[in-house]
Amino acid sequence: MTPAVSFTKVSRHFGTVRAVDAVDLEIQPGEFFAMLGPSGSGKTTCLRLIAGFEQPTAGHIRIFGEEAQGVPPYRRNVNTVFQDYALFPHLNVLDNVAYGLMVRGIGRAERHKAAEEALALVRLPGFGARKPSQLSGGQRQRVALARALINRPKVLLLDEPLGALDLKLRESMQEELKILQTSLGITFVFVTHDQGEALSMADRVAVFNEGRIMQVGTPQDIYQKPRSRFVADFVGSSNVLPPDFVQRYAGQRRWGSLRPESIRVARQAAGEGVQARVVALNYLGSATRLSLDAGGLRLHATVPAGAALPEPGEHVALTFNREQLHLMEEGA
């Protein structure tokens, strides 16, 4: 199957800044693909390369097998939901949504009908007459979505579309987006710096750092089998264990990662396992998170709601299953 988007050794440098650096990537048709990474890691630049707002300084981009070199954005069948939504402030919602059809010369009645349908799809029927400034953040986000979808793109690019929304709204939009993607079957490429969002929504995740892809894989892969300290640390709040420590428990001198929920905390200080002192407790509702000091190593463990909790300052023993301790491939 031809990949929806493929990068072959694609680089985009701005002067000395290597925003995207020799990236190889294949995104499959119909996939929900997430790009995850810290600020400045090159995610947006990648997206802009696909949309055609940036030109690669080296390498090739293919969209459904066709070379994208030299094709301007308005001739790529790819649409973008911008981080700031970029709704046209002088047009009402209906005309915003119908914009893509208007510039294609579709008649007024027909494009308004299509726009109404697109608005219904994002559950905003009847909002057509409002101006973007009269909408809430979540509503704007959905208008931007409808506007991008009306062109029936083969690939939809979303740049941190949920970044500006508050938690409750973000959660419900995540669900909606996922459902929409499944029902339309369009390839979604989704940029975020929120690991929770990437894990819960994507079919596959690419973790970026400093213009390079650190790891590509399913959320489970990424979460449970990080290949490097960076990935382990960035995706969820893993405990990254130094080689010394790992050697004691797994016999190999490699860096390891251990998820907080894999650690069991026993209140008897002298018991088996790693000795540690409780530094702080954080009540999370569904669980309580302990900050622990294990001989200078700062560890986190979560204790599920209902279980007995130690006091701050108390000495505890930590145990975990060997197989939960993931050994990383790379040294760094």
Binding site: Y74, V78, G100, V103
Partner: protein, 322 residues
């Protein structure tokens, strides 16, 4: 961490005592009565603008209801509408129409010429270049208006620099062809409406560039990108996105170009056909002819026009771009 340095000493009141002194109690008063402070702040500018400016303006308008004794030129201070009937004489109507047409043309032309400059400055110029652009627009704005106008007289005169240049380029026929046209033509550019028009455009152009640039600078790039992304060609993006969003800036700029053209009496005096513009008529009636009532009646015209203009501009939100 040394928490000790911060922790409260035993006697640490929750409410501090008033500091005393006039300033302190005044400050308390302002805090308790913000309206009073507001009034205090507004009073001087309101008094100034209200009394000095509006007062003078009203006094002037009042005089348009007086009339002038034709022979001695003394003002007859009795209420009459005679002056207004005089304003409606065909020759005066001509003046008004001529001025408004010129103002409209100048405004349109300024906008057309200003747009690329403003667009480039807002969108592409960076760092030093941006400063250079700014200077490039501001310098002509602040360099002596009169000397600029005179420079144009030298350029446009029959035996002036433009004629000299065209002769060198063997293009004199082009100028002659233009000058032979009715209305816009004339004996030379400096005695034609074309000349007046060029100089008006030149002198007011910076007033148009700055607000357009300001408006364009407020348009996020992502909007033009979004437009391209949705399939609009650069031309379509300009028509449907960039232009509508720059419109408040254009309107703001046109307030200047329009109003300045309506009131100017120096440019058409130096470069033009001797046919009067409103500014000249006002100047002539008040200065040369001493007919303050008619001059005052004439000023009502730009006031009314600009009144409508400002009202429309306000509705378009152009004030923010000023």
């Amino acid at each position: 961490m040394t928490a000790a340095t911060i922790t409260s000493p035993p006697a640490n009141p929750a409410i501090l005592p008033a500091r005393g002194g006039i300033l302190s109690s005044l400050s308390d008063l302002f805090w308790r009565r913000p309206k009073f402070l507001l009034l205090l702040m507004l009073l001087p500018p309101l008094l100034w603008l209200g009394i000095v400016y509006l007062g003078a303006l009203l006094a002037l308008l009042l005089q348009s209801f007086f009339s002038i004794d034709e022979f001695s030129g003394m003002i007859n201070r009795e209420f009459t509408l005679k002056t207004y009937s005089e304003l409606l004489l065909p020759s005066n109507i001509d003046i008004i129409l001529r001025t408004v047409t010129m103002a409209a043309l100048v405004t349109v032309a300024s906008a057309v010429i200003a747009f690329p400059i403003a667009y480039y400055a807002a969108r592409y110029a960076r760092g030093k270049w941006k400063a250079l652009f700014y200077l490039g627009v501001m310098l002509p704005l602040w360099s002596s208006y009169l000397v600029k106008v005179y420079a144009w007289k030298l350029i446009l005169a029959k035996e002036g620099i433009l004629g000299w240049l065209l002769e060198k380029l063997h293009l004199t026929w082009l100028l002659d062809a233009w000058l032979s046209l009715p209305i816009v033509g004339g004996n030379s550019l400096s005695v034609s409406f074309t000349g007046t028009f060029i100089v008006f455009v030149y002198v007011w152009l910076p007033f148009m560039i700055l607000p357009i640039q300001a408006a364009l600078e407020r348009v996020p790039v992502s909007l033009t990108e979004a437009s391209g992304d949705l399939g609009a060609s650069p031309g379509q993006t300009f028509r449907h996105v960039v232009f509508p969003l720059a419109l408040p800036g254009i309107v703001a700029g046109s307030i200047f170009t329009f109003s300045l053209t309506l009131g100017d009496y120096i440019i058409p005096q130096i470069i033009g056909t001797s046919r009067l513009f409103i500014g000249q008529a006002v100047y002539a009636h008040q200065g040369t002819a001493g007919n303050i009532p008619l001059a005052a009646a004439f000023t009502v015209v730009p006031i009314v026009i600009m009144g409508f203009y400002l009202w429309a501009a306000k509705r378009m939100g152009a004030f923010d771009a000023l």
